[in-house]
């Protein structure tokens, strides 16, 4: 519990909140606008282009673990913060060469695009864009969890501040602005712990449409990958489905900023021809 000293009185922050609310006073740390926090949070991980290697560890409720090795490429669309990313599976052998392509479309009224390429079928399959709550290639992250949430579709509230592993964090609640956003994302509420200093998310919770806690997230081992633009990327990402107790850990083995990746590889046609 954080202790705040006001005028010689020592008051716990819960008491402080009650006190301020009672007096109609704004809380001092609410000085920073929540929308500004979220805007900074949205761009902090947006790297112009990257090449990466990651291990996806899928851990079942009884502790059985599977590892999928992947490589990834990403790029921001020119002139926007919309991210395009391509993930290729290296192992296990029977899914080697499988690729997924996700393209974010932040402009209003436009859905994100998702494709998967299956080498055994030599077929590219388009995934229905509204299914952003679906699993991202069999992990406990959904496509939306991976692509990111459109800021303008959610209503944010700053709940409080909390220390997470020694770092001061904003605790922000996000609720969908419309039923369709709730339906598409599968969340009736999200709570994020965002570090004050770097605006990166270190912890998250997602509540299902019935209001029950569905998933918890942890992001750590943040790496400053682009110091000029203050871009931070977590090297460790974890999602747990608290209802099925299934867990996914993504560990970045390599992450390099690379602005020179050709935009042309991020297309369905290019997926097909990669084979």
């Amino acid at each position: 519990m954080r202790i705040v000293n006001i005028s010689g009185f020592v008051i716990s922050n819960t008491a402080l909140i009650i006190l301020c609310a009672g007096l109609g006073l704004p809380l001092s740390y609410a000085a920073e606008d929540v929308d500004s926090i979220m805007a900074k949070n949205y761009v902090v991980g947006k790297v112009a282009g990257s090449v990466s290697e990651a291990d996806f560890r899928l851990i079942s409720s009884n502790g059985q673990e599977r590892v999928r090795k992947t490589t990834g490429k990403s790029k921001l669309k020119i002139g926007s913060e919309d991210k395009m990313s391509l993930v290729t599976f290296l192992s296990p052998a029977d899914v080697k060469g499988t690729m997924t392509l996700t393209i974010e479309n932040s402009s209003i009224g436009k859905d994100d695009d998702m494709w998967i390429y299956l080498p055994a079928l030599k077929k590219v399959r388009r995934l229905v864009a509204s299914n952003k709550k679906d699993s991202f290639v069999g992990t406990d992250f959904s496509y939306a969890d991976v692509i990111g949430y459109k800021i303008n579709e959610w209503k944010y509230t700053l709940l409080r501040e909390e220390n997470i592993e020694g770092s001061a964090c904003f605790v922000v609640e996000a609720v969908p602005k419309s039923p369709s956003v709730q339906e598409d994302s599968g969340y009736s509420k999200r709570i994020m712990w965002i570090r004050r200093d770097a605006y990166v998310t270190v912890k998250g919770e997602g509540y299902d449409t019935g209001g029950e806690l569905l998933k918890s997230f942890r992001f750590s081992s943040y790496k400053l990958v682009d110091s000029k633009n203050s871009k931070w990327v977590p090297m460790y990402l974890e999602a747990e489905n608290l209802q099925t107790r299934h867990r996914t850990v993504i560990e970045m083995k390599k992450f390099e900023v690379n602005k020179d990746i050709p935009e042309s590889i991020f297309s369905a046609r290019s997926l097909q021809s990669e084979s």
Binding site: S60, R66, F89, P92, A120, K123, R126, S135
Partner: protein, 774 residues
């Protein structure tokens, strides 16, 4: 002995206090008593079925499935109101304690997906994301249920009239009774005039079992009251009503306390063993009491009644004490010999009963004479009542006449009985069914039967396919093997449906080929299988197939829904299935059966076999020890007669009346063997004593009948009448059988001791009774 008895009488108050003190101490030991109510704890761990079941539990969940069936009174289930009920009930069930969310299914759970195909390939959507509110959506749901393998007859009945919620539960504090109570809370909340709601499945049955077993708390005291009443009717004295029972109860308390001291667990299979200890201890007590009254009557003319009473205590104990020690040790050693058994439950049965017998001996040699010496002597009217002729005298006279004068007829009847009972024994069948423990008229039983008729079945068995490497299950050859096993299974009587990952993979293959039914088959290559699954996982959730295949696709399971929980049915199915399944897989893939009712099959198989061995061993031990004690092999053989009769009648009647040999009844049969030896030993010694006293042989034998014989009849009729009260436990065959079979075993042991046993003795006139000069 006499000097010892004087000490007992002098120190009576000390001994009474010490006895009560020890009883209190034993009661305090109850806190150390490790009571194991979980039948799983007694499972034969090395049995292949149990090993597989435990592996299956670890990999795929326990499959304790609570099944709720909702049937609309009008129309089919495809109505908004009905499906809303399913959705709301599912939500509430998912919040209940002990529910295994990942293995709880209904049309409204996230895991239930609709796999379909379109021009581009496979589409995987939740089956019922929200309750359809227009005819198109309803038709779409209906089509999804029909075209996917996992729903028909599992979540919706084939005729569309019943919809199911199937919830898996882990064990919680309060047992399955608590699970059932919570579930019924939800059910009652949603029950209204538009629907019938039925509940079935293993947790319902186990909950009933827990509830009905608790009736023992009322039935046992009631049995004690009845025993006391019958003893009062027999003897006509208050002491007879109270003292033998108090002694027997203290013996039970001591033996339970001893289990605590020696840290031996008391398990659920020994729940009825105190009945045996009680019966044996009461047997000794009544013999002693009967003799005390006989001796007191001889001394009753004296003026100092109290002194006469104490003298009668000394004399009765001097005469009966040694016999009691022999009889008690024979039985105790017989039971103690069970410590060589592998099954802990049988070892505890042996130790506990032996401890009970020794406790009874110690009590009868110390505490009871001290009590009797301290109590006022019997009143004159009590002595009169004790002597009056009752129905018991008539029975004794009948038995005496039969054994002495109508032996030919007796032997003929015995021979006829042996033939009839043997025929019955041949009809005896081994079968355990937890559902079969209950009357068919019980609501829970009716519901479960009804659900079994409407759906694939409320019980399951599982076939484990164990691959030797990761992703082995994705091998099309293995998948085709599984498919063949499923096809074989579904042809078997009583199997309602089978499900495995194969069904889903075939459905995916069809979907990827524009839903052409011709492609509802296992794909050609492992890569194809793997990539279908990966594609599925982009729409599904990671745990969707956790109930069918493990995370690294090394092990898979075929779940068969079956309509019966009978072990005879399952054993037969297992044998056939094992033989067939072995031939369906190449090297590197093993098949094993387990899950669901397999544990009961293993437990029944082991328990019944071991209990029969237990019976044989006790008979052998009793024969040997009594042959040594009476220094005669013939004596050993003859003492066996009442034991054999009890066991023979027990199995014969079970066979004739179609009562299956199962865990419960085999436990009762093992108890039946423990009673007869005592009776025969008391009877032998008394005949020998009376014959040695000289005089007319017929009169001597008659005296033995009306003393030791009558005591035997008293106690056996009292205990039988007492436990007959269990037959009133409405709805529960386990109590009915316990009441009936224990009663029959006691009566048969007593009647054989009074007819066939002396009949054989009079015929062969063995030396151990008649002496060398006979």
């Amino acid at each position: 002995m006499q000097a010892y008895m004087r000490i007992i009488i002098r120190l009576r108050w000390w001994i009474i206090a010490a006895g009560l003190g020890l009883t209190v101490a034993a009661l305090f030991q109850f806190k150390n008593l490790n009571i194991i109510v979980d039948p799983d704890a007694a499972l034969p761990k090395s049995h292949p079925l149990v090993k597989t079941s435990q592996e299956l539990d670890r990999l795929f969940g326990n499959k304790f499935l609570y099944v709720v069936g909702i049937t609309p009174k009008a129309g089919d289930v495809y109505q908004r109101e009905i499906l809303s009920k399913v959705q709301l009930m599912t939500r509430e069930i998912l919040r209940l304690p002990g529910v295994v969310r990942s293995n709880t299914n209904s049309l409204a759970t996230r895991k239930m997906k609709n796999i379909s195909g379109d021009a581009e390939g496979m589409v995987v959507r939740p089956l019922m994301e929200s309750v359809p509110n227009n005819p198109e959506d309803m038709a779409h749901l209906k089509a999804g249920i029909a075209s996917n393998p996992a729903y028909e007859n599992v979540l919706v009945s084939k005729n569309g009239k019943t919809v199911l919620i199937v919830a898996e539960f882990a064990k919680i504090p309060g047992g399955f009774h608590a699970v059932d109570k919570n579930m019924r809370g939800v059910i009652e909340h949603y029950r209204d005039a538009t629907v019938d709601i039925e509940a079935g499945g293993t947790p319902v049955i186990l909950s009933l079992l827990e509830q009905f077993s608790e009736r023992m708390g009322i039935l046992f005291p009631l049995a004690l009251v009845l025993i006391a009443l019958v003893l009062y009717m027999a003897f006509g004295t208050v002491q007879a009503m109270v003292l033998p029972l108090v002694t027997a109860l203290i013996a039970v308390i001591w033996s339970l306390g001893l289990l605590g001291v020696f840290e031996q667990p008391f398990d659920v299979f020994n729940a009825a063993t105190p009945v045996l200890v009680l019966a044996i201890a009461a047997g000794h007590a009544v013999q002693m009491l009967k003799r005390y009254y006989e001796e007191y009557r001889l001394l009753a003319h004296a003026t100092d009644k109290r002194a006469s009473s104490r003298e009668a205590v000394v004399r009765s104990l001097t005469k009966v004490g040694p016999v009691m020690i022999v009889a008690g040790l024979v039985a105790a050693l017989g039971f103690l010999s069970l410590i060589i058994f592998d099954i802990r439950s049988i070892r505890v049965f042996g130790i506990f009963t032996a401890a009970g017998i020794v406790s009874a001996l110690i009590l009868e040699l110390t505490w009871v004479p001290a009590m009797r010496a301290a109590l006022p002597p019997p009143k004159a009217n009590e002595m009169l009542r004790e002597q009056r002729k009752t129905v018991w005298d008539r029975v004794i006279l009948w038995a005496y006449t039969l054994a002495t004068q109508r032996r030919a007829r007796l032997f003929k009847v015995a021979a006829a009985a042996i033939v009839t009972l043997s025929l019955g024994g041949l009809m005896l069948h081994v079968d355990d069914s937890q559902k079969g423990y209950f009357y068919g008229s019980l609501e829970q039983k009716r519901d479960d039967d009804s659900l079994n008729r409407k759906m694939a079945g409320t019980n399951t068995i599982s076939v484990l396919i164990r691959g030797d490497s990761e992703d082995r299950i994705k091998d099309p050859a293995v998948l085709r093997g599984m498919e063949a096993v499923q096809q074989y299974l579904i042809q078997q009587q009583g199997v309602g449906k089978t499900l495995s990952i194969v069904d889903f993979i075939k459905r995916m293959n069809q979907a990827m080929h524009a839903d052409d039914p011709a492609f509802n088959q296992v794909p050609e290559s492992r890569e194809l299988v793997a990539q279908y699954l990966l594609l599925y996982s982009t729409s599904g959730e990671p745990g969707d197939f956790d109930s069918y295949v493990d995370a690294d696709y090394r092990n898979a399971i075929i779940v068969a829904y079956v309509k019966s929980d009978s072990t005879a049915f399952a054993t037969d199915l297992f044998n056939k299935l094992q033989a067939y399944a072995k031939t369906q897989f190449g090297p590197g893939v093993e098949v094993a059966i387990g899950g669901g009712i397999a544990n009961t099959v293993a437990l029944t198989e082991t328990m019944v076999r071991e209990k029969i061995l237990n019976i044989i061993q006790i008979m052998a031990a009793v024969m040997l020890v009594s042959a040594l004690a009476l220094r005669s092999m013939v004596a050993g053989l003859l003492i066996l007669v009442p034991l054999l009769a009890a066991v023979f009648v027990n199995f014969g009647i079970m066979g004739l009346f179609g009562i299956p040999l199962q865990i419960g009844t085999s436990l009762i049969s093992a108890m039946a063997v423990g009673i007869g030896a005592d009776y025969a030993i008391y009877m032998s010694y008394r005949m020998r004593e009376e014959l040695r006293a000289g005089g007319d042989e017929q009169e001597a034998i008659k005296r033995a009948f009306f003393s030791a014989g009558k005591a035997t009849l008293f106690v056996s009729s009292a205990v039988s009448a007492g436990f007959a009260v269990l037959m009133l436990s409405w709805g529960f065959w386990v109590h009915f059988y316990l009441g009936m079979l224990v009663g029959i075993a006691m009566i048969v042991s007593a009647l054989t001791t009074l007819t066939l046993f002396p009949g054989l003795i009079f015929k062969f006139r063995p030396k151990f009774i008649y002496g060398i000069g006979a």
